[in-house]
Symmetry: D2
Subunit: 388 residues, 4 copies
C-alpha cells in the first residue's frame, strides 16, 4: 500500500481500545507501588482514558473489568463515557479473585463453584446489554499447580459446558472473545494455555466466538505473527491484547520490548485484511504501568501500535510479492526491512495534524498540565487497582 493518502486514511480509521485497569495501580506479587493522581472509581478511569483519546484521536473505546468497574448504574456510566467522547468496549470477566475460585472457576471440581462462576459470566453479558459493549472477553486463570491435582480432561468438559451456556446467552451483535495464556497464576496446567485450545473451543461454539491474542501469553520462541495470520485465515481472530514482554507475562508497554515483532504482527494484520472494519478485529491494550506514569504510558503504547501499523502499511506489497515468487530471500526480506527502517513519526505527525491534533501526543499531554491536576484533585478515597 504505497499510496500515502490510503496509508493515512487507514491510520485515521484504526481504533485502539484502552483498558480501564491500565489507569489504576498495579504491580507484582512483591509490591504494588501507588502513584499520585490514580483514579478512585470507574468514572475517573474513563476521564483518564478520555485524555488518551483527546491527544491521540484513535482511542475512543475503553475496556471495563467486572467487578473492578462495577457500578450501580451502568447507563449512567455509559452516558459519562459518551460525554467524554468515549464508548464502552469489551467487558472483561473476573473469576479469579473470589476465595471460592482458589482451585478454579468454570473448571472447578465442585459444581456449585462452577455455577457461581458461570453466573458471573452471564452477569457480564447483562452489563454488555446495559452499556452497549459488543465484546465479552473471557480469561480464565483456571488450572492446576501440581501434577495430579485435577483431571485435565474433566476440566475441559466443564469448560466447554460453561462456555456453551454463556454463548447461548449472547445477543445478536455480541461476541465472545476467548483469551489463552501459557501460565500464571496456575503453574502446572492452564485450562486454556494456547491458541489451539481457544480455537478448538471457539470452533465448536460458533461464529460469535473468537480468539484473543495477548502478545505476552506465549511460550518463549513462539511466532505470534504466524498465529495471527492463521487465525485471520480461519476467520477466528477476534482481538488483540497488546503489551510487551522480555520474559513471562511482563505486561510492559506495547512495542517497548520488541518493536520489530509488533511490526511483523501488524504486517500480518495488514496483508491478511485484518484492518478492514468488517473483519472486526479489536485492537486492545492490556498492560500494567507499575513504575511509570500511567496516562503517558498508555499514550506511548497507542503511538507504538500506530507506528507499527504505519510501517506495515508502507510495505511495498508488489515488490514483496515479486521477490517472494522468485525465491529471492534477500530481496523479499529487504522489502520488509525497508518499511521497518523507515521513520514514520513525521507521517503520523501529519496524520494527527490533519485530524486537528497536536503532532506529538506524548508531549502535548505532558504540556497540558493534566498530570498535576489529577494529582492535586484526587486526594483521599481508595485508589483503583487490580482489586477494585
Amino acid at each position: 500500500m504505497s499510496d500515502v493518502s490510503a496509508v493515512k486514511a487507514a491510520l485515521k480509521s484504526q481504533v485502539i481500545e484502552t483498558p480501564s485497569w491500565g489507569y489504576g495501580n498495579s504491580g507484582t506479587r512483591f509490591k504494588v507501588f501507588a502513584q499520585a493522581g490514580v483514579p478512585r472509581d470507574p468514572y475517573e478511569k474513563l476521564a483518564d482514558a478520555a485524555q488518551v483519546h483527546r491527544h491521540t484521536g484513535v482511542a475512543p473505546k475503553v475496556s471495563l473489568h467486572i467487578p473492578w468497574d462495577q457500578v450501580e448504574d451502568y447507563p449512567a456510566l455509559t452516558r459519562h463515557a459518551r460525554d467524554l467522547g468515549l464508548r464502552i468496549g469489551a467487558i472483561n470477566s473476573n473469576v479469579f479473585q473470589d476465595d471460592d475460585f482458589k482451585l478454579g472457576s468454570v473448571t472447578h471440581p465442585d459444581p456449585k463453584v462452577r455455577r457461581k462462576a458461570t453466573d458471573h459470566l452471564l452477569e457480564c453479558v447483562d452489563i454488555m446489554d446495559a452499556t452497549g459493549s459488543p465484546d465479552l472477553k473471557l480469561w480464565f486463570s483456571d488450572g492446576t499447580n501440581y501434577p495430579g491435582q485435577d483431571s485435565i480432561s474433566d476440566r475441559q468438559d466443564r469448560l466447554a459446558e460453561a462456555l456453551a451456556e454463556v454463548y447461548e446467552r449472547l445477543g445478536e451483535d455480541q461476541r465472545m472473545l476467548l483469551e489463552y495464556k501459557l501460565f500464571e497464576p496456575a503453574f502446572y496446567t492452564t485450562d486454556v494455555p494456547d491458541w489451539g485450545t481457544s480455537y478448538a473451543h471457539c470452533l465448536k461454539l460458533g461464529p460469535k466466538a473468537q480468539v484473543v491474542v495477548d502478545t505476552g501469553h506465549h511460550a518463549p520462541g513462539t511466532n505470534i505473527e504466524f498465529i495471527v495470520a492463521f487465525l485471520l485465515r480461519e476467520g477466528k481472530l477476534g482481538a488483540f491484547d497488546f503489551n510487551s514482554r522480555f520474559y513471562a507475562d511482563d505486561d510492559l508497554m506495547a512495542g517497548s520490548a520488541d518493536p520489530f515483532q509488533l511490526f511483523r504482527i501488524m504486517y500480518e494484520v495488514v496483508c491478511n485484511g485484518g484492518l478492514a472494519p468488517e473483519r472486526n478485529v479489536n485492537f486492545m491494550l492490556d498492560q500494567c504501568h507499575n513504575i511509570e506514569a500511567k496516562i503517558p504510558a498508555v499514550i506511548r503504547s497507542v503511538t507504538n501500535v500506530q507506528e507499527a501499523t504505519a510501517k506495515a502499511l508502507l510495505v511495498d506489497s508488489d515488490a514483496l510479492a515479486t521477490a517472494q515468487r522468485s525465491g529471492d530471500v534477500l530481496a523479499a526480506n529487504g522489502v520488509l526491512m525497508d518499511a521497518f527502517n523507515t521513520d514514520v513519526r513525521p507521517l503520523l505527525a501529519e496524520v494527527r495534524e490533519e485530524l486537528g491534533l497536536a503532532r506529538d501526543p506524548f508531549a502535548a499531554y505532558l504540556a497540558s498540565g493534566n498530570q498535576d491536576r489529577i494529582a492535586a484533585d484526587r486526594v483521599g478515597g481508595t485508589q483503583a487497582g487490580w482489586g477494585a
Copy 2:
C-alpha cells in the same frame, strides 16, 4: 488400575514402534560420528530392529523413511520383516533433502516444486499399499528463515491443497499422521509449528487425519501432557514420536532427560483410554543415537517407555479421583507421586519372564554377542545415515 494382572496384561499388549533411521548413523550439523556395525541397507536395519524386538518383546513394528529406505522390491522387504517377526509401521515421507526443496516443498512458491513434493507423498502411499503400512507420517521442514521471505497465509493455502490431494488417495484402512515442530531447519516460520495448526488441518481433512506428538518439538515450557489429553478427548491423537530433549529438538533417548514428564504423558494416555487398541495410538520412537551404541540405546528407550507406562498404570485412580473431587491438592499429587516413585523394574522383569524373555533386555542384548557380530560382518559398503 491397581490390579496387577491387568497392569501386566496392558504392558504385554503395548506395542512400541522403532524407527529404521535410529539404527543408522546420525549427528549434528557439526559432525556425524560413524559407528562400527551400522547397517548398510534397509534389510540390515530391519535385522537390528528385530534384535530390539527379540529382547523386549514389545517392538514388532518398524517405521520406514523414504527415500532412505527405498528398495526395488517392497514385497520382498515386507517378507523379510515378517521372517524377522516384524511388520512395517509408518511410512515417513522426506521432502526436505532434494535440492528443489530449499525454499519449501508442498508450500513452495513454485507450483512445479509443489507438484514434485506432492507426488513424493503419493508415492509413499503406494509404498504403504505394497508393505501393508497403515500410517503415512508427514513431517514438513517447510518454513522460512527471514521475515518477509514468503507469505505465511499463502503457504497455508498450498499446504491445505497438498494435504487434501494426499488424503483423497488414502485407502480404507490407511491413515495420515501430521507432525508439527516448532523450528529447525526453518528458523523464522515453520508451516506446521504447533499442535493447533496440525489439529486444524486434520479436522478439515477428516477422520483419517490425526496429529503426531513428537515430544521434542515444543517451545520451552509447553505442557505436552495437556496436548495429549486434549487430542485424545478430540479423537485426534494419532501417534507419538518419543524422544528426549533438554534444549531444542535434541533427539535423545526417550525418558532420558525428564522421566517424570514421560510418566505424566503416559498417565494422560492411560487415564484417557489411549492404550486401548481401538484408539489406535501409535507409540513410536523418533530419535538419534549420535554418540551411544544404537541397538542398546533403542532397547533402553523402549524400556523407558515401558517403565513410564507401568508407573502410569499403577496410579490409584480411585484414590486420585477422591482427592481431586475434594480439592485436596497434596493428597492428589501424592497419589500420582506414589506411582512415579515406585520402582517398576521388578514388575517389568516379571512381565518379560512371563513372555519367555530375559528379565533385563539391555543386559541380555549385550550378552548376546550381536554387537561384535555386526561390527565384524558389516564391513565395506556405505553405512546408512540420514542421507540414505
Copy 3:
C-alpha cells in the same frame, strides 16, 4: 557410596533449613488466598517450623525475613526457637517493599535511597548478632523495566559499593550469601541476574561472600547442576534455595516439577563433597504454598530433598567412574539411572525409625491433629504473609 550405613549416616546428618514465610500466606499478583490456621507472628511461624522438624528430624533451622519477622526482642525469639528445638538460620533482607525502592534499593540512582537500603542490610547483620544467625542472605529485586531506564554499569558500581560496606560489617563467623535471579519483579534488566554476576561480586568481596543457587531463578534450559558443580569447585557455593518450577519462578514444592533434576543437583553436591559439614553448604527451602496446606507442603518438600539426596548417595561411584573413563555412554548413564530408579522411601523410613521418628512424616503430621488445632486456635489477628 554403596555402604548403606554410610548412606544412612549422611542422611541423618543432612540439615534442611525451612523459611518462616513458607508458613504464611502467599500468592500471585492476581490473588492471595488465605488459609485457616496461618501464623499471626514470627513466634507462631517458628511453632510451625518446629512441627516440620518434629516429624522429619532434619529441619532444625529456620530462615527469617526482615521486616516480615521483625520483633522487639530478638534474644527472646531466639530462646523461643531453642525451646522448640530450633535455631535461627539465614537472615533475609528485604529492600523491595518500601515505597522508596520503586526504582531500586542499593542500585537506585538516588544516594539517599541507597543509604537507606544499605542501612537495612546493616541492620540485618545486627539481627544476626542478636540471633546467632550465621548467614546474611541478600536478594535484590533491583533492576529496570525499560531499556534506557537506568545505566546498567552505574548500577553495578553502586551494587559493588553497598556490598563492600556490608561485607566489612560481617563478623568472624558470619557469611554473606548473594542470590541471583533472572527476572521478576524487574522485567528488562536485573542487577544480579545470573550466577556469573553473583560469583564475580563474591570473588571481589572475599571468602565470606558466597553464591546462593535458587533452583527457580534461571532461564529456560539452564543446566543448574553444572552451576552447582562449578561453584563447588571454586569454593563459592554457599547455599541452595530449593523450590520447583515449570515456567518462571513458580516457587512450587521442591522436587515436585522435575524430581530427576533435583536428583542430578544433589548428585553433583554429593560427588563434589558438598554434603561435608566443613563445606558449609546451606540447604534451604524457599517456596510458596499458595493453594496447598503449608506445613504438610513443607514436610513433603523436605522429604523430596531427602529422597533426591538418598538416590544421589546410592550412585555406584566406582562403576560410574569406570564407565566414564572407558567412554561407555550408556553404561555410565545406566549407573546414574539405576540410583534414580531406586525407590528410596523404605531406606528413608528406616533412617527415621533409627532416629526415633515415624516412618512417614507426612502421614504422621496429618494424624497428629495439629492442623485442626492451629485452625481452631489461630483466630483473630492478622495472618502473616509476604507483607508481614
Copy 4:
C-alpha cells in the same frame, strides 16, 4: 554523542571482521544446499571477503578456521589477503570434527585425545605467528549428551589445564578469546555453557584471555546487553560473534531477528567505551547463509551492525543521564527510542560517500556483476563448506 561529525568518525573507524566460512556452503543437520559460485579454497574465500570490504569499507579483516582454511603456505595466504586490501583476523580452532573428538577434545576422559586437541590449539598459535593474526578464538563443542556420561568437574579441571598450556604459548600481542555456548552439539552439559564459566577461566588465565559474546549462544530470555556491559566493566569483553536467532543458535544474519536487541547491545558498547580502539573489542560476524546468497548476506549483516552502531551513537547521552538521575522512566526510555526510531540509512550513505564508496553497498554489489562472474568462473573442484 550528538555531534554528527564525531558520529561519522566513529562509524568510519569501526571495523567488522567477517568469517571465511560465511562464504562457503552451510546448512542444518537435515541438508546443506549448495550454491553456485561458492569458493573452493581459502584464497577464493578471501576474494569474497574483499568484495564485502570493497563495498562497505569497514570489513578489512577475515577470520580463518583451521583446518577448513588450512594451506601449505600461510605467508602466501597472508600476502594474498594484503593484496586484496585485507588482513587476517582471528584464528578459529576446530576440535570437533575429528573422529577422536566424539566424546570431547580438551575435556575428553582420555589424556591422549586431550593431548591431540591441545596440540591443535598450539598449532593454531603457530598459524597466528605465520599470518599476523592477533586473536586465537576458542570454541569447544565439548560436553555430554546424557546425565552421568562424564564428570562435570573433572572436565573443568581438564579444560583449565589445556587452556593454561595454550595461554603460556601466546606471544606478547596475541590474545585468547574464549567463546561460550548454551548447547549444541552437546545436549546435556556443555563445558563452557555461559559467560560466567568463560569469565572465570579467563580471570584465572590472565589479561590476555577474554570472553567472546556470540549473540546466538544464550538461553531464551537472557539479557545479552547486560553481559556486554558487565564484561566491559571488568575489562574482559574480547569480541563479538554477531548473528541472529529466533530459537536456538540459528546463525541468521546479524540484526535480522531483533534489530532492537542489536541496537541495545551496541548502545552498551558505545556508552561503556567499547568502540575505543584501545579497548580492542573485535566485532566479528559468525553466521551461516544456508538459503540466501552469501556475499550479499554478509554485506547486509555488516550494514545492519553499522546501523545499530549509528543509532547507538545518536543517543542523546546528556538527556538520558538527566532522565535517569531524576527517575523519569518514560523520558529515559523515550531518549533511547528516539535514537532507535531514527532512520540512519541516509547518515550511513553520507559516511560511505565521504569514504569514496557507493551509498548503498548491497545494491552496488548486485550491480557489480560479481555474483554472475564467480558463478561462471568457479566451476569444478570441491566447494568449501564446514568440512573444508
